[in-house]
Subunit: 214 residues, 2 copies
């Protein structure tokens, strides 16, 4: 049996902070070296016989205290093998993104950082987070399973613009922001989104439409 590199499953947990109007990434303060005390993406070493999604759930629970009931869709980001990414030796990181329920609140070692402020993370987590933002953005308007848990059961037009534009700004390569002028039209044409007929809270002007899934 040849010597193999360690395999870690890392997770990029996204969350929409509706009150703050920001898309956040949930980070955990590391307990041990390397990079003890620093904020980093939650990750664990993959166990023999464990599925990737199981390891991802374990990382979320043990590193940032997010229970499985608060995690909706996850998806693939990629495999990272940058040399020197971990000072402990050669490691392979298989990364997934996750959407965390907006009602979950950070506690303990966990902090939710606005995606625009995510930088200076240890290892190659900065790059991983930016690529993950791209993956989520790619699926946002094509996959109900991503959009629904991120935006919540109901959301107004401005929420949709915020989520799209902040992901686009963080993604690598950058995506395009949405013009709010046409966003209501786009949503009206989306199969799995319907207009509730209600209006959301005003942000200083006219109240935006409220939409719901299916």
């Amino acid at each position: 049996m040849p010597s193999q590199p360690l395999v870690s499953i890392d997770v990029v947990p996204f969350r929409y902070n509706r009150a703050g109007g920001v898309v956040e990434v949930v980070l955990g303060r590391r307990q041990f070296e390397p990079a003890a005390g620093a904020l980093a993406l939650p990750g664990v070493l993959l166990l023999s016989g464990e599925r990737i999604h199981e390891a991802a759930a374990r990382a979320l629970k043990s590193k940032v205290g997010v229970p499985g009931t608060r995690v909706a869709a996850t998806g693939e980001v990629g495999a990272f093998d940058t040399p020197g990414r971990d000072p402990r030796g050669p490691t392979l990181s298989v990364t997934r993104f996750a959407i965390v329920d907006e009602h979950w609140v950070p506690h303990g070692n966990a902090e939710a950082i606005a995606i625009a402020h995510v930088k200076g993370l240890p290892f190659d987590h900065d790059n991983i987070a930016r690529l993950a933002a791209r993956r989520v953005l790619e699926k946002l308007w094509t996959d109900e399973a991503i959009a629904k848990p991120l935006l919540g059961a109901t959301f107004d037009t401005v929420d949709a613009a915020i989520v799209n534009d902040q992901l686009a700004a963080a993604a690598i390569p950058p995506g395009a922001p949405l013009s709010t002028a046409n966003l209501a039209r786009t949503l009206a044409k989306t199969e799995w989104v319907t207009d509730t007929g209600e209006l959301g809270a005003s942000r200083g002007g006219r109240r935006p439409k409220v939409w719901q899934f299916r």
Copy 2:
């Protein structure tokens, strides 16, 4: 140190057989159990300190005899952890696609099988090959580094249609075939492809235009 699953790097090597007019996948006849004697995708166990692309090159050389000089672009397909995918125990497969020079000819344990006939492979290699076809198709008309080695330095309009349509038919989910009526127009507008002014071999009718890269 916890027990970790084995990590294999598998490669889906694509090749355009110009004479036969088919897109092929290069498979290797397995020497050892499990599935000894069966054709399978080339793959090796990842070594500690080895980069993914290095392991992919090693798989191509050792399993199907494709030297590094005959391999152009490679790209990411995904990570597969289906339980029971390998009877030896839990394994994680990190898969890449590769484009093999059309002038390389299979020998020894290697066989090139038309992509439409790829089925019944051991492990979950059928699915992996179909997803790889999708990844190549996604990049075919946007990434010169994929299109050039696959089609060769020069190619005629029909070659382009064959490559696109056979990848699309094999991909999962299926892609759309190109209408040859508009293909010459599309190629003429592609930045990195130019019309040589020459004509290719007739296939029973008018001779198609010949294109070259850059």
